[in-house]
Symmetry: C2
Subunit: 316 residues, 2 copies
């Protein structure tokens, strides 16, 4: 079998960003089936859980089991959200090879979200990187740093570009292996995306920059288009657009993985994802919980008639 070619790396975040606000516990076996099926469909990286204390978010009570199960899947990059140093320690002990940490550029949002000043959160990140540096090289996980509310904040509204760049620099100086620009509340538009991505790319140097968009106001894939123009190659998304926003009932969540993969594929950009298998994964996953509200246009409309995917074109 030939090695899968990918121009763009799509990353599933629904098991974390989608399920974290979902009131019903998804059984661990269903989470693992979701991960297994989506990996099989060709999604190369999945954020499988969060090491937030189960007291705060009971959905993640099975974080260890989910990680252990996911880590058995060949060639899948398994990542997990770590809220603090303790989370990093758990991730390292479990052998998770990619840990994702998040700081809100909006100081108000950071305070409300994790009850810490933004500077304190950046100090925490430094402590996490220092812990990682004590490990033998081959045991060190990749450490991603997300800039939450980088494109707008429901408390502060617009976020100054200088603050985004400052946070990015602080996280890069601390040793981030990746910067993720996050539109946490779905305020972004393509013009803002271009401005922010250009500024972050300018300071990131060789460190990869990823995009994490929400589709709260319908601009998700338009923002992807703008980010692609800037040269961004890493995109977070969630199957069925799980996610939503606790402050906007019924609103869409993360950009829809199926729609994202279709758009990229139609543009001739290889994601390595088999769209049919991805749609099947959605279907299976949707049966797991009766109160899941899925979004997404491709699942309703189906692929264009006679559509030839980049995967099929490669095989032909």
């Amino acid at each position: 079998m030939s090695r899968i070619q990918r121009d763009i790396i799509v990353r599933e975040v629904g098991l974390r960003d989608g399920l974290q606000i979902h009131p019903t516990f998804m059984p661990t076996t269903d989470k693992l089936a979701w991960i297994q099926n989506e990996a099989q469909a060709g999604v190369p990286e999945i954020e499988v859980t969060s090491f937030v204390p189960p007291k705060l978010i009971p959905q993640f009570a099975d974080a260890s089991e989910v990680c252990q199960g996911a880590l058995e899947i060949q060639d899948l990059v398994v990542s997990a959200l770590i809220p603090n140093l303790k989370g990093a320690q758990r991730g390292i002990e479990l052998g998770v090879k990619k840990l994702n940490y998040v700081v809100s550029v909006s100081k108000t949002h950071n305070l409300k979200n994790v009850r810490r000043e933004r500077d304190a959160s950046i100090e925490d990140f430094k402590a996490i990187v220092n812990l990682i540096k004590t490990l033998p090289l081959e045991q060190r996980p990749f450490i991603g740093a997300g800039l939450s509310t980088a494109l707008g904040c429901s408390y502060e509204g617009k976020i100054a570009l200088s603050e985004v760049v400052l946070c990015a620099e602080q996280l890069l100086d601390a040793g981030a292996d990746e910067i993720v620009v996050c539109d946490t509340v779905g305020y972004a538009d393509p013009a803002l995306v271009r401005a922010v991505m250009k500024a972050v790319l300018a300071v990131a140097g060789h460190v990869p920059v990823a995009a994490h968009f929400h589709d709260t106001r319908g601009t998700g894939l338009a923002n992807v288009t703008a980010a692609l123009d800037c040269g961004i190659k890493y995109f977070d998304a969630s199957l069925g657009g799980l996610g939503g926003c606790p402050f906007a009932p019924g609103a869409s969540g993360n950009i829809v993985m199926e729609d994202l993969c279709f758009m990229l594929d139609a543009m001739g950009l290889k994601t390595g994802v088999n769209l049919d298998l991805l749609l099947k994964t959605r279907e299976t996953m949707s049966k797991s919980l009766s109160d899941l509200k899925l979004h997404g246009a491709l699942a309703r409309a189906g692929l264009p008639n006679g559509y030839v995917s980049t995967l099929q074109a490669q095989e032909a």
Copy 2:
């Protein structure tokens, strides 16, 4: 009162493209209230009806009354779809100042849609332009020519760019005042949009080129972003994304007017549309028929906190 500034012209097509597949008749007074409210919200152009025979589409049995009512609204560009010469005559008699004609680039689609060969449809267009030329200058309507299925066809799949350009040239030679590139079945992606728009703009010269996108597979606003990059300034959309596709139950229709206007406005592009009034228009319209299925993210999520629109910024 200062004259409204507009960088982009958005055009409502829901009363025609949205309602034409809707099984329930929307009362004429409700149609006129929709038009009135949306014009008041600042939408500068509305395709109010189609002169298709009511035997074929009963929804348009009130075409004359709707036109007459709409034509009383100050500063609104009232347009109507004309399927043929007879439709053009009706539009001219009613004093409609903009007539929209459509040819499918896909020969199969044209045959299935209007039971005529594509070349015959182009001949019909020539006859319509010739009729218009017999009128005194001040009575001549503006005649738009739509290229249906220019970005893909549910019968033929991909459409050759050379065919799109050929049709555009034929319609321009015949005397079209505007070319509308239509993604009739929602197959387009941003890369294809760029290729097609560039090619059509190259032959259109000084004749304006507009975009008519559907959001069937979620790529609608991403395609708008790509078209904006090409310099397109005219966009069709429908309130609540009315439209759908008879072959894809539940699928989205035209791009959502509210989401389009929000995205453009957030990008700093003036549309002249008051977003609050537009959302109110949607709400009122949605009560007209109980079986309408509306789409759209902005209506669910609301405007960003502290959002200042370009209209408000202008007034400040």
